[in-house]
Amino acid sequence: MTGIIEAAVNGILMGGLYGLIAVSLSLIFGVAKIVNFAHGALLMVALFTVYWILELLKVDPYLSALLAGCFLFFFGYYFQRLFIEPILKREKDTAALTVILLTSGLMLIIENSALLLFGADYRTVRTAYTGKVWEVAGLYIMQPRLIGFVLSVVLIRLLEFYLRRTNFGRAIRATSQDREAARLMGIDDYRVYKVTFGIGTVILGFAAAFLTPFYFIHPAVGDLFVGKSFVIVVLGGLGSITGAFLGGLIVGLIESVGAQFINSAMVESLIFIVFIACLVIRPMGLLGKERE
């Protein structure tokens, strides 16, 4: 029984990070309606950014997020500007599919370039937090997971505050709800898309920093997260920040508790089955509403 509780706690903690990564995907998906198949590749870029900052500057892993964030904002901004924006401007009806294929191509380029540059080794960083464990009420909890979880919650709160309370945040929300109306109000929708994409990649930078103390880094590491992220986004309802976070917790929980009963590969397929069921039965997600 303790084993299951411990698995549940660790699953929820990991789920917080899944949630954070999915929030980033959901933000981009919800605002710009972009299905970004390169999301996992961008996470990998974020992980390597954090990795090199830690290797070269030897700063605290959680502080490295701020440095990485500066770089990643522009990476995301120009990713959108150079590749996706021209397609959105050219195509109206068919853009969604073209963007999927385009981002699939970018994923192949980014991941395999990383493979050429950094090799296929699994890298890890030993930080002050690596391997540390707290004992709480007889349960062993991995310290970096707990810190990552707490910081994820804080970050998501900050993001929600930004979206609700700042002018540009409101512009993002307006564009996400009705692009045409937002445009009529004088909002530059393409600028909103670029900034949103930038914010999305910054969030990935934070997720990378939270992961690094206890996770490995590899050119294909994004593949482990991208499928789950899409599952989570659909589970939580498109564009819903809270929904994405809750979806993350659910997936984390299924994954780690499920692994106590069946083998972990089967758990992974279970998550995909939940995903398909959710798409078909409740396409608006857990928290979404039916729209005309």
């Binding site: 195509e91 294929l101 385009l102 395999n112 397929s269 396409p283």
Partner: protein
């Protein structure tokens, strides 16, 4: 087929038929087989993706089913692979109905994601299944197919690569005929209507789900037969045949060439497959990613500058050239 296209088509078929007689190097013959196989596979995708406009990200599922079904039938029940090929096709068609039922409730990106999820489920299940009902699936290790003594078409056992070449050439011609026939038929018109605007198609009484399902079942059947051919060519199958990466590669070939056109997938295979064959030979294991970088770059360039596929500017150029001649 119009009178003007009969001659070039006949020339192309003749050239393809003569190829292995002129080029004797088994390496090039193998590369040519792979080009034809991928053209065949991408055309099978095109029946659903091009004619019906349903861009499936899960076509590798059918390829894998074909490969595994015929292999298992061959090893455990001594069913000749040619028969196994047909059985695999039928099994894939039946399974495709089960996949289509939920997926066709979805549109655009959601359809793409759901089909992708399906093929991933297949990959994961096959990867983690060592044995099922007395049959060794061997999980991640994959299955080696034993050679049978004696040559026969039924058993897919030939003395050289050339026979595989002619077999896949005939298969490709057959699927191109099926594609053209479907396109020109009443069904093809329904599928085009569904592709162009599903709401409008349904409003004039076309049962979108039923016709998409037919396109999917046909597409799955041919996709599976490609899987059997591949298994018998390489005599080895593995769960990676089900992978979403492989699905994306199939779709990429069709889309880069031109989805929804007869020869687009063939053009795509002609451009992309040699890249993977060449990089594999000349760059070796250390540069395994180069091929995929080139693939990615081609895909990005095509999406940005010729989203209808390379066949469109090619046709335009051909027409200009033809007009210039007196």
């Amino acid at each position: 087929m119009t009178a003007g296209s009969v001659l070039p088509a006949a020339c192309a078929v003749a050239a393809a038929a003569l190829f292995p007689l002129v080029v004797r190097d088994p390496y090039f013959v193998h590369a040519a087989i792979m080009v034809l196989l991928f053209a065949y596979l991408a055309t099978s995708w095109n029946i659903l993706g091009g004619l019906a406009g349903q861009h499936s990200f899960g076509h590798s599922a059918f390829f894998g089913i074909g490969a595994y079904v015929s292999t298992i039938l061959f090893i455990y029940y001594h069913v000749p692979p040619l028969v196994g090929m047909a059985v695999g096709g039928v099994v894939a068609s039946v399974i495709s109905i089960g996949i289509g039922y939920p997926c066709f409730k979805l549109k655009g990106p959601y359809f793409a994601l759901a089909t992708l999820a399906f093929t991933e489920i297949f990959r994961i299940v096959v990867t983690s299944t060592e044995q099922i009902g007395g049959i060794d699936l061997k999980g991640a290790a994959g299955i080696l197919i034993p050679l049978q003594p004696g040559k026969s078409l039924l058993n897919f056992q030939f003395s050289g690569k050339t026979s595989y070449y002619y077999l896949i050439l005939v298969m490709l011609l057959a699927i191109l005929f099926v594609y053209r026939w479907m396109e020109r038929s009443r069904w093809g018109l329904y599928l085009a209507a569904i592709r162009d605007n599903e709401d409008a198609a349904r409003s004039i009484g076309i049962s979108a789900t039923r016709y998409k399902m037919i396109a999917l079942a046909v597409s799955a059947f041919f996709g599976a037969t490609a899987g059997t051919f591949y298994a018998q060519l390489l005599l080895y199958i593995e769960p990676a045949l089900f992978s979403s990466a492989f699905s994306i590669e199939i779709l990429l070939i069709a889309v880069v060439g031109g989805a929804g056109t007869l020869l687009g997938p063939f053009l795509g295979a002609l451009i992309l497959t040699p890249i993977s064959e060449l990089t594999r030979t000349y760059l070796g294991g250390g540069y395994a990613g180069v091929q995929l970088i080139i693939y990615g770059a081609v895909l990005v360039a095509v999406m940005m500058f010729a989203p209808q596929g390379l066949i469109v500017p090619l046709k335009r150029g051909w027409r200009l050239l033809a007009e210039r001649r007196p």
